[in-house]
């Protein structure tokens, strides 16, 4: 199978869906770049080149540079979706949801319910998230728990190139509003990606490691750190299951509960802040439903309750690391031993 980057996988998904369905359009700030200039009209392809090459293929009517004003173009994408197009809008950094959240959570997310099931809003919003780029507090947040909180939205967190392509194709074909989170530190990650179009269904977790001692549930980029931690711990005699839910809404609760029932121990790895996070959500899910199966109290590995810092010295401390995941796994193993000894 050919190896491709996360960036190429996303570009390929957009291209193939635009070829398949004329109603699919893409729009965003600098999504091509250079609009109105005398020089290159496909200058950027988005700030990190993810959509490069699509404008020459599909033209300015289907690859729309927007003005730099998120309320109106994100809202226009919602309005276009409710009236017959299948727009893929790019919200450059998810931090900018603060500018345009009304159009997402009060409008697009609620059309179907408020209008008695008669609205169909096939809107995809692609957005960059995550720390590690020394991009500081307003360009590094995760924020997917805030979207997960909203009924009517679907929330997708691909952890590798294969998932990026298949989940984006599913997002575009899906008839509900989808927020598609791309971790900015993953764009150069390489992985096996089929050339043909394929859709990965939402709400179906991928179990990337199978083990007996601890279940690690991790989201987005953290899945890769969890896999590395599991491999390292395996050499030390601790065997881990790693669950990549792929989507936080819908959430594959069944796979999470089944694997925790098997191992009896849970660590959740979530790059977002600790309060009202996916980490607390998964711990709550497990303790409410299968408390009796737990051999130790669950542990969470998250960023702290602080804005993302700029200085590399601070940001490296801030982001959940493989070492912190390994420490959390060892801690739940010890917790279990204490319980057994009592």
């Amino acid at each position: 199978m050919p190896k491709k980057s996360y960036r190429t996988a996303i570009n390929e998904a957009l291209r193939q869906e635009m070829e398949r369905d004329e109603r699919v359009i893409i729009m965003g700030e600098d999504i091509a770049g250079g609009m109105g200039t005398q020089a290159d009209n496909d200058a950027w392809g988005g700030p990190l080149g993810v959509t490069k090459g699509l404008k020459p293929l599909f033209g300015p009517d289907r690859v729309l540079d927007t003005h730099l004003a998120e309320i109106s173009f994100i809202g226009a994408a919602a309005g276009a979706a409710a009236t017959g197009l299948r727009p893929v809008a790019e919200l450059m950094f998810v931090d900018f949801m603060g500018v345009c959240f009304d159009q997402i959570f009060n409008q697009a997310a609620k059309f179907r319910y408020m209008f008695g099931g008669k609205a169909v809003t096939p809107l995809t919003i692609r957005t960059m998230y995550g720390a590690g780029f020394r991009a500081a507090s307003q360009h590094s947040q995760c924020l997917y728990p805030m979207f997960t909180h909203i009924p009517g939205l679907k929330v997708v967190l691909p952890s590798n190139p294969y998932e990026a392509k298949g989940l984006l194709i599913q997002a575009i074909r899906d008839d509900d509003p989808v927020i598609f989170f791309e971790h900015k530190a993953l764009y150069d990650m390489e992985g096996e990606v089929p050339d043909e179009a394929y859709a990965i269904p939402f709400g179906q977790a991928n179990v990337s490691r199978e083990g007996d001692d601890v279940t690690i549930v991790a989201f987005g980029r953290m899945v890769n750190l969890a896999n590395a931690a599991a491999d390292a711990l395996g050499k030390a005699g601790i065997s881990c299951t790693v669950v990549d839910p792929r989507t936080t809404s819908p959430l594959d609760t069944e796979t999470i509960l089944e694997t925790v029932e098997e191992t009896g121990r849970l660590v959740v790895v979530d790059e977002s802040h600790p309060r009202c996070s996916m980490a607390t959500d998964i711990v709550s899910l497990v303790t409410e439903n299968i408390f009796g199966a737990l051999k130790a109290a669950p542990k969470t590995v998250t960023s702290p309750h602080a804005p993302v810092p700029f200085s590399s010295a601070l940001e490296d401390l801030y982001i959940p690391s493989q070492a912190k995941i390994e420490a959390a796994v060892r801690a739940v193993m010890e917790g279990g031993q204490r319980k057994a000894a009592e």
Binding site: A80, A82, F115, G117, K118, D175
Partner: protein, 325 residues
Amino acid sequence: MASGLQLSRADLLEAYRRMRLIREFEDRVHDEFAAGNIPGFVHLYAGEEASGVGVCMHLTDRDTIASTHRGHGHCIAKGVEPDGMMKEIFGKRDGVCGGKGGSMHIADLSKGMLGANGIVGAGGPLACGAALTAKTLKTGGVSVVFYGDGASNQGAILESYNLAKIWNLPVLFVAEDNGYAESTASSWSVSGSQVKRAEGFSIPAREVNGHDFFEVYEVAGEMVERARAGGGPSLLHVKLNRYYGHFEGDAQTYRMPGEVDRVKQAMDSLDIFRQRVVEASLLKTDELDGIDDSIRAEVAKVLVDAKAAALPTEADLMTDIYVSY
């Protein structure tokens, strides 16, 4: 003067019917709210009929409108059935939105009515999106957004002017200026003028008397045709008055004593319409009275049916959230 007087007999009758239907519908909702029969927040359009109808007489189902919290009149002007609307306002299962939206969220996409909206100014971007669909799919459709003087200060609306212009979208911005953003005067809260604001975006704009159906109809017609012909957005600043409060229950102590009565006597949109068509010998008084009688009976029946209709049940609580999940 006004080209509206050249409307066909059938169109004149239809315009009057819609305006009278809005007035009667809103007056009855006012009574029912006062009697404690309607839950939630209700904002009435009585007094503003010539605006919604004057614009929507130019539209068909392929055209879309985005509306406001004061949306009943826009719905009726766009052809949404009053029966489903009244049931919705009463929170009934057979309401046009299954009782899940209520007064502030009535929508009927089959009629191109994209929804009343509880968020002031939010319709601007949505209307740009509907216009983008029309332009991309070459439907020939035009997209209208109604919004108030309060909303005209929202970033969502001002951004929409810019987006509609740079994308050359078939959008008509209708700023319905009833003089008050809730209880605050637009003369105080709106800096500059609506027309000059639009002109600052190179969008053609006109101010019209919103009590005069024919004036609204004529200018809106030019603007809708410009949009349909690929000429991009326009802005219509409609000066009008509301007869009831911002919301039902508003004691309106910010209005001068007798203010509303003077408007009703001097410039009621239905009175002006009647006077104009009768003077021009286009319609007869008894035909207009006949419409009044039939509308009164129609709304009375709609009200009886809405009261008798069934409420949603527990089985409805968790449906219609997603297409699939």
